[in-house]
Subunit: 236 residues, 2 copies
Amino acid sequence: VAPNHEHARPFVTVDAVLFAMRADDLAVLLVKRREAPYRGAWALPGGYVRENEGLEHAALRELEQETGVRSIALEQLGAYGEPGRDPRGHTVSVAFFTFVVAEQHPVRVGADAVDVAWHPLRTLALSRSTTWRSGSREPVRVAFDHARIIEHARIRLQERLVNPNTTTTFEIVPPRFTLTELQRVYEAVLGRALDKRNFRAKLLARGVVEPVSALRTGTHRPAQLYRWKPQRSRKP
Amino acid sequence: VAPNHEHARPFVTVDAVLFAMRADDLAVLLVKRREAPYRGAWALPGGYVRENEGLEHAALRELEQETGVRSIALEQLGAYGEPGRDPRGHTVSVAFFTFVVAEQHPVRVGADAVDVAWHPLRTLALSRSTTWRSGSREPVRVAFDHARIIEHARIRLQERLVNPNTTTTFEIVPPRFTLTELQRVYEAVLGRALDKRNFRAKLLARGVVEPVSALRTGTHRPAQLYRWKPQRSRKP
DNA sequence: GCAAAAGTGTTTATGTTACACCCATGT
DNA sequence: ACATGGGTGTAACATAAACACTTTTGC
């Protein structure tokens, strides 16, 4: 069937799920909406795809507009098109995600937002944690169906970390890092403690990291710094 | 930003990648297009999403309209939105895929097609096989960017078969099946031979199949029939 | 009896998990 | 000196891979 004006055209939007570490917690970057719907609510950075604009391009553009974060690689998560998911009308959103080192990507309040902030996942009202411990603050509710998108993104992120045969390397640590720093990230993403010796042994056995001749000096014993090994091709 | 008529609205389409076995080969269901663009070319079944229609719903509807296949579950593959991927204009397509037993889903030439057929993957001009063996027929070129979509779908299908912790069980064999039949499917999807003893041992060890009190009788020694075990919940 | 597919165990290598103590530094 | 995080090896176990011959049927 050739397209014509009889064909409904849903709005097409993009959303970006940016993960990062905040104080040993896995956090996601949200913007506080300036306009209805969900005015004043926290939502994923995102917006409308322009004419003849690629999806990832649109996601990167909206991300920079709304948060100032740029020069990163996104991975596609999927499309969300349930009727009713956006009160403005039939809207299909394509979600992207990645992981960044927050310190290297300062955020700034952009166009359509009144605030931008990293939110630890455990402070958000995702559908999993239906109960809430007293003594904690009220969970933050996110706009639209973004809770669902964030959960899916977390699951995909976990899968990518666990899978050894992944080409996409997220920016999960700065160029030089200690193995403990790297382990903290893994633990936050996977939501469980890892054994220090096994973690280090596996990384070195896989040959994905190598020590550099520098130490991280801090308040205690200095730690060996590592970098990602320039990875040779997989199976030629 | 609130939506208005300034917002471009790309067309939104859906495509379905249906895999099945044909003569020990992995095949995909394609329709021969009746209209331009790509008139006369083979393409994935799919079409325009309707107003306030869910994405999977649209994919199932178009699939049934064009091929007669219905009552199946689809899994989302991803969204394709490169500008220029559709000569009719800016079009975002959301692709779905699954695996079915072809014998249980007879196909029929539907509305916008002049033909429907299962095409073994090795007869298609996918980007991987750039060379073509003499003695074989000319590779079939598929319309739009469907070659890329089919390749992605095959990779995802392989990942799903290999991963033990998969909830979605594709309809890869009839309700009662022999272990050799099941192995043929695995081998076709993965593109390599599997060891018979290891294959059977692993399935039984995982407790995903169980024998039923019936045999498949044929031209040679009868084979034990199995069924999928009614699977108990994973980790309570 | 022979062709064709069904069926069946053991050994080896590899990867995963569990586990406890000493070291180097700043205060 | 002590508190804090950095650093190291081994044994048990589970999983994956390689490998060849006998059995049952139709013809």
